[in-house]
């Protein structure tokens, strides 16, 4: 699919109505838009993610986040609650909201700003949205918080925090789990 211009994309979003087929199309368009315009999202990653990741690690974290967005399935059945007969489904795609936020950042030439100025911009947007916590990815009200939520939920982030090879949610030999996790070698 040909990438839309920012103006065309925002125009399309404004015209979109929440009929299921159109929502699916809006999701696909937003995903394509993000893929075609990665510069702002990468600049956002440099601003919100820890510098210890390095440029390659940051780029990888942003790529994984983009894949997450692309894989989102609106209306998917979520894990049942315990003690209730109520079923839950995945909410509307956050991709359109986040793509619009990135488009607005792009309009401010966000990627060209020095790092600290980028953070100032993000802090102001989060303060305006009254965001208090990192929370879950899909419900993040701002794309910057979504990127944080996605990264910090990962096994890599846990290992980075503890500076140890914990390997959360990864398979491991049963016997090794009794040992203290090995420290992560630092460059």
């Amino acid at each position: 699919m040909t990438a839309l211009s920012r103006r065309a994309f925002l125009g399309w979003l404004a015209a979109a109505i929440p009929a299921s087929a159109l929502v699916r199309r809006a999701h696909a368009l937003a995903v394509d838009h993000l893929a075609a315009n990665p510069r702002t999202l990468r600049a956002l990653g440099e601003a919100v993610l820890p510098s210890e990741l390095g440029s390659a690690g940051t780029a990888a974290a942003v790529d994984r986040f983009q894949r997450w967005i692309a894989g989102y399935r609106e209306g998917a059945e979520l894990l049942h609650g315990y003690g209730t007969s109520t079923l839950e489904k995945a909410g509307p795609t956050p991709a359109t909201r986040w793509a619009a936020q990135l488009a607005r950042l792009d309009a401010k030439h966000f990627a060209d700003l020095p790092l600290e100025q980028r953070r100032t911009v993000i802090r102001a947007e989060l303060a305006e949205l009254k965001v208090d916590r990192i929370g879950s990815v899909g419900r993040a009200p701002h794309v910057g918080v979504a990127l944080l939520a996605h990264f910090y939920a990962s096994p890599e982030a846990t290992d980075l925090c503890y500076e140890s090879k914990i390997g959360k949610q990864n398979c491991r030999p049963l016997a090794t789990s009794s040992r203290k996790p090995l420290p992560v070698a630092r460059a």
Binding site: E77, L79, L174
Partner: protein, 539 residues
Amino acid sequence: MRAEEQVPRSRSALRSGRHLIEADVCIIGSGISAAMVADRLARTTRMKIVVVEAGDEAPTLASRYALRDRYLQYGESPWPNDHLDGYEIDGPLQSRSMQVGGLAMHWGGVTPRWSPEDFKTKSLFGVGTDWPISYDDLDPFYQEAEELIGVAGEQGPAAMDPRSKPFPMAPLPLTYNLGLLKEWTSSAGITMWSQPSSKNSRPYDGRAECCRNDTCTPICPIGAKYSPDFTWQKLRATNRITLYPRTLVRRLVRDAVTQRITSAEAVQRGRGAGTPVTFRAKQFVVAAGYVWSAHLLLLSGVANRSGTVGKYLAGHRNQQAFIELPLKLYPGINGQHSLVTKQFMRTPPDARYLRHDLRVWESSYDRGPRLRDNASTIMLGDDILRDWRERTQTGVARVRAYYDVLPDRESALTLDTSRRNAWGDPLPRLAFKDAPESAALRSYSDDALKALFDRMARAGGGKVIRNEEDDGGFLDHPAGGCRMGSDTSSSVVDGWGRTHDHENLFVVGAPTCVSASCANATLTFCALALRSAVEIARG
């Protein structure tokens, strides 16, 4: 469509145009209790066995890594479509799950035995109701269940944790974190050990060794945790059973003279109203869990001369705390495994009635990354990581006690005529209620457990940072609804699970429990079901 999903017609059924299935034993439900009964009957008899399940087939083992990934990434159910539509009910249902394998497709695999005291609280403590069977009656069936599903366990002190034979598998080793936490609990005067679990500490029965990837609940992607689908695969592969999924039993029909159950009238779900199916058998076994077993009996108007079908729903309440400790823990090694003790299963003679288990886990409560610091300033970049590292220099333990709640007669499942399924049958309504003696003890129990947690925290030089308790009207590991007893006026089944009213109708597993102890219950449901199978095999 799989071959098993086609409802075959007998010669007589073909002549009459009806779908008719005939067997020696008809098992209704395909959860873990049903699997135990079917397995034992298949091993010890030549009976023709049919199993009827309302839900769909469970996803194959090969598909579970992909399903797990969707769960981890997006919170999606790894058991999609494991329910019947239109079954939103009034009351705290444990789970909507209804599929081949039942709730045990996504259980935690935690398998303590109950304690001998659980079966005679009236005799020992003057409260509740004694069961018609004892722990000793159940001991060989506990062992059989442990061997069938594969339990890795550590023998606790014999006085607290009696058993006549060793566990079939060595215990799951304590993680590094649990090793540190065990030293802490020991300093608090509490003897704890590795929680017995139906997770393989070595390759077992054709299934893999546990690799601690820590999604036991809701999905083990490698089959190291037992789930009933493994039993069904084995029994189907050897043609020892025929399993009919997507087939909802709506009524049991009795002979007005003999009172024997003559058929189970079902509908195979499909387009529209589905296809009516009649199951005829010499014996019927209702193995549909604490809700759907009593629900079926009430819909059918059978087994209820005592008026207690659906009554005495039981479960246990929990009280838990998060304790900050001056320990460097590394949460994420295997957060679902725990320490356990049975030290508090006996009420001292001079104390008020309170019996509870106690478990301890690693936790990351209040130790996750955060967006705002203590001054509420938004952090970005390195600040978040620095803050996270500072706050994880000390560890957090989760401690939880299930305590025994004695069920009231009106802790009940009833038929809700205001809500009906697609076939017009009333749905169940659930309402748990403590017996008066438990209601009177509730604040004492909660306070005593909070005091225990405080004492534990102090022993480790730490502090309780959060207390939590059940407050939604739901009691955990629910059971009852068709309780067993010797008195036919106050129970539904005898000690074998045979209904008092119908000689060829059994109810097995969870519904037959008189009370629900204060520990995870599935292994006990399995043992009870295996014991029932002995009597069913006698014909």
